[in-house]
Structure formats: C-alpha cells, structure tokens
C-alpha cells in the first residue's frame, strides 16, 4: 500500500512538472522576451495561452504536498526542516508569480504592466530553480530525519544542477506548448519564434544532462546508479527518445504531437528518478516502508484519490479540451462594459 502511495506521489510530481512546468516555461520566455515593444507579441500570446489553465496547473503542487504529509509524514517533516530556505523562497516565488500574472491582465498602464510582469517573470525563473534544488538535495542523500536547515543541503553541485535542469526543462516545455498556442491563436510569426527557442532549450537540457553525469556520479551515488541501470536507465532512454522525437516533430512543424512527446519526456524523467530512488523516499536513510503513515490512512488516501480521479479527471479533460479548442477566452472590456480611465496608455 505504501508503495502504491509512493507511486501516486511520483505521478503527482510528474504531473506538476509537466503542467506547472509549462507555465513556468511560459514565464521564463516572458522574462527574456525583451523590452515592452519587442516583447509585446510574445507576451500577448503567453497571457492568453496561460490564463485559463495556470491555476489548475498549480494545484498539482498542493496535491503533492498533501500526499507527502498524509502518506509520509516523517519524510515531510525531514524535507521541510532541512530544505527550509529554498522551500520558503519557492513559496514566496509562487505568491509573486501568481499575483503578478493575475494583476497584469487587467492593468491598462505600461508602468503597471512592467512591474507586475517583472514579478511574474522573475519568480517564474526562481521558483522552479528552488524546487529543483530541493529535489537535487533529496536525491543526493542530504536530507535525513533530523537534519537541520543548512545551506549545504541545497547549495551544492547536484542541487544547483537539478535546479538549472528544472529551469531548462520548463523552458523547453513552455516553448513547445507556445508553438502550438501560437498556431491556435493564428499568430504565425510567433510559431517560428518559439520553435527556435524550444530547440535551444532542448539543447541546454541535453548539455546540462551530460554535465550532470560526472557532477552527480559520486555526489548522488545511489540515484546515479539507479538511473544508469535497470528500469531507471530504460525510462531515461525512453525520455531521451521522446525528447529527440520532439525535436524532429518541431522541425517538421507537427506541433500537436510535439506537445505529447515533450510532456512524455519530462514525465518519464521524473518516473526514472522514482525508479532510481527505490526503495527510499530519502536515499539512503529512509525507505518507503519506514516513512509510511498509518495503514488505515493510506487505504483511505487511495480511496480518496480514486474518487477524486473519477470526479476531477473528466473536469480536467474538459478544461484542457475546451482550452485547446479555443473555447475559453477572458472577458473583454466590451463584455463587462468598461471604459478607459484617465491615465491609461495601453
């Protein structure tokens, strides 16, 4: 039962990495889109593509946390004690990011948009970095039950690399999705704009992964071996194949499928990490069985999860379908009957 919950948690992390990652990636491209004039079109696309789905994408994170503290309370306690600073910064990043994005939409002055946009974009870069660094710290065995908060837990080679990898992967996902969004919104010039960026981001991911091999070899020994052998290796290879397939599909401008393969490559990577870390939740000090909460609770957690999937699954599918069909648009000023106010310059 504990193993099942552990896999549910890995799946939830994978879902967050894919759904939330796409959003973070969009924020990353918002950040590097240039000045107000040059970045106007990409930012317009990012706003419209993200708006209906970003909140849903971020709810996966809450779900990950809930499974963690209900299913593996000791692990939750250990991680949040040892990784105090990066998690606190990630939480603040989440606030700035969401608030910045939500407040930018109704703003009608350039100066306001700049501030809110900067809040959104900078924290879109920092939040995945810190979350990645936390995962890196866990994978390299720096978190044990009773570890107190210290910089070493997350400011080390493996953590920094994992953080950068997280940023690069989100940028990759974001760009791939924005390609097809650009086509959906009929902005053909932006299709190529984001296509180049997707390929670039993939190259960075590949380079970081190669750098990671020697860096993590001795530092995160257990996970390294798990990733280079057995099922872990198989999933890593599949992820690489999916990544390369995405590149091919992007080059052939097949944007519908490229989304699937890019999501698959990220999800498979998370899955590979899950396999590599077996049977530990905190390598190499705490196993899944040791960390598991009360059996009765775990059984109920499974029931709640199943019921929820039955309820939420169709709703999520409906939302993503409506979104990709272009049925979801925000209310405009004309719809709510709003007029310009003095001082508006947009």
């Amino acid at each position: 039962m504990a193993d099942l919950i552990a896999w549910v948690m890995v799946l939830a992390i994978a879902a967050y990495a894919c759904a939330g990652g796409t959003d973070y990636g969009a924020g990353f491209w918002d950040l590097v889109a240039g000045g107000a004039e040059r970045g106007k079109r990409p930012r317009w696309l990012i706003d419209h593509a993200m708006a209906p789905v970003w909140e849903v994408n971020n709810v996966w994170l809450i779900f990950v946390l809930v499974i963690m503290w209900t299913g593996f309370p000791t692990m939750f306690q250990a991680v949040f004690s040892a990784m105090w600073l990066p998690l606190a910064l990630a939480a603040i990043g989440l606030v700035l990011r969401g608030a910045g994005f939500a407040l930018r939409m109704p703003a009608r002055r350039l100066a306001q948009r700049r501030i809110y946009g900067a809040m959104f974009a900078v924290s879109s870069l920092l939040t995945p970095f810190f979350l990645g660094a936390v995962l890196g710290g866990i994978a390299s065995g720096r978190v044990e039950v009773g570890t107190t908060a210290a910089a070493d837990a997350w400011a080390n080679g493996t953590s920094v690399l994992a953080g950068l990898l997280a940023v690069a992967a989100t940028a990759f996902l974001g760009a791939v999705f924005l390609c097809s969004d650009a086509r959906r919104f009929g902005a053909d010039d932006l299709v190529d704009y984001f296509r180049v960026r997707a390929l670039l981001a993939f190259a960075v991911v590949a380079v970081l992964a190669l750098i990671g091999l020697p860096v993590t070899h001795s530092d995160a020994r257990y996970v390294w071996e798990g990733l280079t052998g057995g099922l872990g290796l198989l999933l890593v290879l599949l992820a690489a194949v999916c990544g390369l397939a995405t590149v091919l599909l992007l080059l052939r401008r097949s944007f519908g499928w490229s989304r699937c393969t890019s999501v698959a490559s990220v999800a498979l990577t998370v899955g590979a990490w899950g396999f590599a870390q077996r049977p530990y939740v905190l390598p190499t000090s705490l196993t899944v069985a040791e960390a598991a909460g009360a059996a009765h609770t775990l059984r109920w957690l499974v029931i709640v999860t199943v019921v929820a999937i039955v309820l939420v699954g169709p709703a999520v599918v409906l939302l993503y379908r409506l979104d990709t069909m272009g049925e979801l648009e925000e209310l405009t000023d004309a719809d709510t009957g709003a007029a310009g106010a003095p001082g508006d310059n947009l």
Binding site: D47, H48, A51, P52, E55, V56, N58, V59, I62, L65, V66, I67, W69, T70, P73, T74, F76, Q77, V79, F80, S81, W84, L87, A88, A91, L94, V95, G98, A99, L103, M105, P106, A107, T148, A149, F185, G186, A187, A294, H296, T297, L301, V304, V312, L318, L319, L322, G326, L328, E329, L331, T332, A334, D335, T336, G337, A338, A339, G340, D344
Partner: protein, 495 residues
Amino acid sequence: MLSTAALLANNPPDQLLPARELMAFTLASHILLVPFGVALPSITLLMHHRALRRNDAVALTLARRWSAVMAVQFAIGVVTGTVLSFELGLLWPGMMGRWGDVFGLGFGVEAWAFFLEAVLIAIYLYGWRRLKPWTHFWLAVPLPLAALMGAFGIIAANSWMNTPQGFSLDAHGNPVHVDVRQAVFTPIFGPEYWHFVVAMFLTAGYLVAGVYAVGWLRGRRDRYHRLGFTLPFTVAAILTPVQFMLGDSAARAVFHKQPVKFAATEIVWKTDTHVPEYMFGRLNSDGTISGGLKIPQLDSILAGFKPSTRVTGLTSVPAADRPTAVQATIAHWAFDIMVTIGSVLILLALWYAWSWWRHRDLPRSRWFFRCAAVAGVACLVTVECGWITTEVGRQPWIVYNHMRVSEAVTSTRAGSLWAMLGIVVVVYVAVFGAFLAVVLKMRTRWRIADEGSAATRAALPPETDTPYGPRSEPDPAAAGAAPGGGSDHTPGGAS
C-alpha cells in the same frame, strides 16, 4: 503571575514567536479572500440565472463584472492558500511529522475539491464569450458544491486540532490504530463547519451588497445598483438569523467539548455555578477582572439554560496547560466583538425584512444604506474574530491536549523566521494593495462607462445587441462612452 511563571519555566523556543506571527499574518490575510472563494461563485450564479431566465441585460452585466473581479481574487486566493500549505511544513514540521497521517486526509479531500473548483471556475470565467449561455451556466453549477467540499476538508483538519480523536497512543506517545472516519468527523466538526460556511456566504453577500449601497448613497439609484444590492443583501439577510443560531450552538459545543477554551472566551476563572457574563473587560493574571460589563448569572444560563449550570474555569487545569490571561483576554474580546457585530447585523436584517413586508421595497432611510455599506467590512472583522477565538482559545496546544505549539515549531533559527516574516509582510502588503487598487480601478472604468452610456442612451435605439455570444465589433455603448478607451483583446491586437 502564575501562568507567566509557568511559561517562563517551560522556556518556549525563540522561534516560537516569529513562527506564530508568520502563520497568523498569512492566515489572517488569506482568510479575507476565503468568503469570496467559497460564496462569490454561488451569488454570481444566482445573478447569472436571473439574467438567463428573464433575459435581463442588467443582471448579465452584474454577473459578468463579478466574474471579472472573481478572476483576480481567485488567483490571489490560490497563491496565498498555497503558502499556507508550505507553512505547515516550514513552521510546524513537528505537528505534520507526528500527526500528518492522522488528520491529513481532510487536506486530501480539500486538495481534490479545490482542484475541481479551480477547473470549474476556469471554465466559468473564460467561458462567457464562446460557450452556449445555458451550457456555460450549467457547467458552473457544481462550483458551489466543490467549494463546500473544500471547506469540509479544511474545517475537518482544524476541528481535529481542536478535538483530536481517531487514534490511540503507543508507549512512545506516537499515534497508532488510526481511524480516519473518527478523525474527520470530530465532535466539534459539525458546529464549526456550518458556522464557517454560513459565515462565508454572509460575508460575501454583505460585502458585495455594500459596494452598491455606497453607489446608492452617492445618488446612483438606477436598476443596476438596485439589483446589485438586493440580490446579495437578501442572501445575507436571510442567513443572518440562521448564523446567530449556529453561532450559539457552536459556542455551546465548545462549552461541552473544549471547556477550557470556553472558559477563556468567557474569562471564567474558577469552576462554579451561577457564573456571570462579562461583556469585554480584561482578565488579570491573578484571576480578577478589570472593567467590562457584568451581567449576573447570564454565562451559566447561556451555557446550560439555567443559572445552576456548572461552568468549568481556567484554573481547572494547570497554568501551563491553559491560555495565559492575555491570551484569554484576546480570545474573549474577539468573541465579544463577533457576537456584538452579529447581533447588530440581525437588527439590520430585520429592518430590511420589515421594509419588504410593509412596502415591498428597499428601506428609504439613508441610515439603512450607511449601515449596509459597512456591514460587509464588519463581517470581515467577525471572520477574523471567529478565527482568533478558536485559535487563541486553544493555546498553548496545537493539537488540543496532545501537542503544544512549542513542540511543533520548526528548529530553524529565529533570525531567519523574523527575516521571512519581514519579507512576507512586504510582499503581502504589496500584493493585497495592488489587488485592491486593481479592483477599484475596474469599478472606476465601469462607472465611467455606465455614466457615459446613460448620457448617450437617449440618442441610441434601445438594447439591440444580443447580450451573449462573441462580439466581433466593439460595444457601441462602451465605444461611445470612451472613444478608443476600451482596449479589446483581439488576436494579434495590441495589448
């Protein structure tokens, strides 16, 4: 003196104070948005239904404008709520580590319910333009249920902290034999849940109505303001007496299930019968009470309907196991403020009911609208007070009688926590300030447009535009009101 000495002897860790302040600040901020998250969708749907049923363009405008506000408010609510789940780990790892598997399932229910809510609200907020009118409406109908389900999860967790059960302890004091059903449906759960849910609807109703009451006072007495006031105010006015009963029964549930908390909220020092009720007043650490209005016998009567009811006092437990005199006074004031405001709101609701019964119309008095304008803010105060009562009244326990707040707190240095508190305060003030500014700006835009269209209405033919459906061209009224002002997001457009 006694309780202070005991606390000093216990030597609470340095990080306790900043951790507590951080939690209090973020939760106090988030709770201001909760009424809207839980109840605004329902109120908007009521208005939306009216718009569709009667083909009422004014109602449709109101529903759309509330949606536009909801879009921003929901986003801020999501992120400030996410912070709270982080803080459970960042500030109280001791509680989650030991008790997470006992009471965490409530949060599991909440997470999924919230997921559903986020999906449905996204479809609702972004479905106005392209979905078919009734399809759009019906897709949003499960929203209130999802909101109630989410509240269920959170209140289940909180009421477990107040009246923990559903486990037994092994030799090391660790919980074993967890029974989830018992842990979710704890004794205080029912009273706390209904009191909370109704409070959310009440607050959202009065606040939304208050916006239009202000407009009414400023002389904007058109149908738009009338409808915008009447619908949410009616919802809130109907619920006000209901809430009074629920609050009363919740207080009595606390009397039975958490006697020491009840003693703190009523500043009862010694266990006794014929206990007087104090309105406000301050409890001193020697058990005397300064100031306040003393009503003989009343506390016993309220608790058990007769003066001979025995009320447990604070001194029934050792000083280290009960709130300090200051904490008790805080809980007492919060409770009394909540009850006072609630009672005044009943009078307001009665005034409204009387007016409808006699004249079939809104009251004419400006004083009614002045009161209605501040009722929403007063309700937010009661929400804060209710939460302070239940949290401060539980001190020093985080899990009542099982874990102290000081045992649950993180081991991170106090300095880091203070620094984090500083950053969070700055960020939250900025975010909430910007949120308020954005909403007020929206209101200004709408008012300018409405005033403009009222002026041009004489010149234009009556409503020819279909209220629903994608609009290929700008609304004539809005464009007429502000030439080149309303920036429309068309694909590829400049925005």
